[in-house]
Symmetry: C2
DNA sequence: CAAGTAGTTTAGATTAATTCTAAACTATTG
DNA sequence: CAATAGTTTAGAATTAATCTAAACTACTTG
């Protein structure tokens, strides 16, 4: 097994799989994002995190990469806050609690929640996605 | 009767009713916003609209007023776009179609759509609101 | 109804998130 | 291993939104 160094081969393969050139930055970001459980990040939070890990990646690249990952289907963007973009490593069918006081997201499994009665969209349009945001506050 | 001038008394009363001092700007904005059917505006779109009507209201005041109206329950803010805040004159129970290509909102009556199975929020938190956004695209 | 005052408006500066630019860099190809 | 097409980045630019503090006005009081 050699070094205790981070094993980036998974991230490398994942990038190859979606046709993204596995650059050092992208591999590092993918490693951090997809290592453990699902998570929600903002560009800023991710930048702080990787910077704290000693990785050098510019904020512009973080923004670029988050969008590229999203287009590639590796991430999903969650719109809950007018002031800040969140990205979710969970791209499956699910919804969110949004803790307005803290700016935190919590996943709600897609099979727990159901949206019924969505009307037929106006002519010429198709449903792209149905997003449910349960906004919660301190009681 | 008398002049054909805009009748602002409704707007005036509405502002009084929610405890907002009926200044010229607020009366003008309320008149424009609540005159006809329900509508969705952004600060910029509303600013352009009133400017086009020959009313002089600064953008800062538009922002202030939209928020004041929202706090007073006259408007509701809709979060669908990470880059732009929308305000809705319909404050009742309803949801939205969001036409991603055009940045347009269309109301979905609250009694047509149902969200079932919202889990109990984490301890210490209560549900403030459940928002459903049906994102639609050109077919 | 004059004048005080508390609440409002505003131009312009400021902030914050994000995107753009174009020059330097690097993974891949031939 | 050189060519090149795609990538990264610092820093400037953009955009929505907020802040500031000075000018203004609706409402109250004497």
């Amino acid at each position: 097994m050699g070094k205790a160094a981070r094993d980036n081969s998974k991230a490398f393969q994942r990038l190859r799989g979606v046709g993204l050139r596995p650059t050092r930055q992208r591999v590092d970001l993918a490693s951090v994002l997809f290592k453990g459980m699902d998570r929600h990040v903002t560009a800023e939070s991710l930048h702080e995190e990787v910077t704290g890990l000693g990785l050098k990646i510019s904020l512009a690249t973080i923004y670029n990469t988050l969008h590229q990952f999203t287009h590639a289907g590796l991430l999903r963007q969650v719109i809950v806050d007018a002031a800040r973009g969140y990205f979710d490593t969970n791209t499956g069918d699910h919804q969110h609690f949004f803790l307005e006081d803290e700016g935190t997201l919590i996943d709600i499994p897609g099979d727990e929640i159901t949206v019924a009665g969505v009307p037929v969209p106006p002519a010429g349009l198709t449903v792209d996605r149905v997003d449910v945001v349960v906004r919660v506050k301190r009681a």
